[in-house]
């Protein structure tokens, strides 16, 4: 029988930020005014907040892991990304029946091969397959990434630590509001006999954007620096 101590083994409460910043106040003020002016409804706002809180990269990682293990599923994923997404629990029509206003409802899965490496961008704004991959990282949204990866993909990938030999073609897919992409990278060596769960753990977000390769020893994306663009926006 273990000792009984007065704290009943409770952990101390998690730290909280105990002050309200002007930014928090600004966000609330903007939202309340917008609703009062009829720019959108409180109900829409609530639905999109719930959507924002529900998304993350795990379903996409599972799609990749399953495709590695099951050739029939891979075939389905490559033929119809939206339908295959349902199999990992993602319905592209949520939350409004048409997705969200900027997400639309099409997903294409891009299969890397020994001779082709894909990488995804949205040059115009930063469209991203959020329902299945979660929120985009800051660097993906910057003009620096968006402009440079389409012009000099190999150089940008090497800045991400990915050196590709010249015999591998690099294919950059430009997303837009009607079509989103995720990369199905090649399965790395050293993962023989792994379960779907184990494989999903090493398929990080950056692997599915295409700027990193999955590795049996890595479960977390590296931190990426964010660079300002050198030239003005409409250069």
């Amino acid at each position: 029988m273990s000792d009984h101590d007065h704290s009943h083994g409770h952990r101390p409460p998690a730290p909280m930020v105990e002050e309200i910043s002007d930014f928090e106040i600004l966000e609330i003020a903007v939202r309340e005014l917008a609703i009062e002016k009829g720019l959108f409804s409180a109900d829409d706002h609530r639905r999109f907040t719930e959507f924002a809180e529900s998304i993350g990269p795990l379903p996409a990682a599972r799609l990749v892991a399953r495709a590695w293990l099951d050739p029939e599923f891979k075939k389905r994923a490559l033929e119809d990304g939206v339908k295959a997404s349902l199999e990992v629990g993602v319905n592209w029509l949520d939350p409004t029946g048409f997705g969200t206003p900027s997400d639309y409802t099409d997903l294409r899965v891009l299969e890397d091969t020994p001779t082709v490496k894909h990488v995804v961008v949205c040059t115009l704004c930063s469209c991203y397959p959020r329902p299945i991959l979660g929120h985009s990282p800051e660097w993906y949204r910057t003009p620096n990434y968006r402009r440079r990866v389409v012009r000099w993909p190999r150089q940008v990938l090497s800045e991400f630590g990915l050196q590709l030999p010249p015999e591998i073609d690099v294919r950059v897919e430009d997303s837009n509001q009607k079509c989103r992409f995720m990369v199905l990278p090649m399965r790395p060596a050293g993962t023989e006999g792994w379960t779907e769960d184990q494989l999903a753990e090493i398929v990080t977000r950056d692997c599915m954007i295409g700027v990193a390769l999955p590795h049996p020893d890595r479960k977390v994306d590296d931190k990426r620096p964010v660079h300002p663009a050198v030239n003005p926006v409409h250069h």
Partner: protein, 141 residues
């Protein structure tokens, strides 16, 4: 395709036609002149990076980030008044000028407010007033 599918397709097409997805025909640069109220927030406001470090909070995102996301989505919807394309184009410009030293997502929030003010979706006076009321409300407990 059966009748139900056709109706759904019709609804979908109508949704596409009425949604604000089109690229504007002529690009006009957003007004990047600083706005007094937002300059104050920029100067006085404490960013999440700083707050999280001070209080030892591990969450990389401020609690209002998902709400901001929802506001941006809702604005880009059919009756919202600010398409994703227009908002992001302004944000790009503002992020490299007026708000370049502000971390994301505070920068995103300031850029959104700036764009809404410049487009007349809200005005500076009412925003300042509402901020004061919200602050009083939040600090009244």
């Amino acid at each position: 395709m059966d009748k139900a599918d056709k109706e759904k397709t019709g609804e979908y097409e109508e949704h596409v036609r009425s949604a604000k997805y089109s690229v504007p025909e002529s690009w006009s640069s957003p007004d990047t002149t600083p706005i007094g109220l937002l300059e104050e927030v920029k100067k006085e406001g404490r960013v999440w990076e700083e707050l999280a470090e001070e209080y030892g909070v591990a969450n990389p995102n401020p609690p209002w980030k998902t709400s901001l996301f929802a506001t941006m989505e809702a604005l880009s919807g059919c009756s919202g008044g600010l398409s994703t394309y227009d908002r992001r184009a302004s944000e790009d410009e503002l992020a490299e000028t007026v708000y370049q030293d502000v971390p994301y997502p505070e920068r995103e929030l300031l850029a959104l407010a700036h764009t809404m003010l410049r487009r007349g979706l809200v005005n500076e006076e009412e925003l300042a007033q509402r901020m004061k009321q919200v602050e009083e409300r939040l600090n009244s407990a």
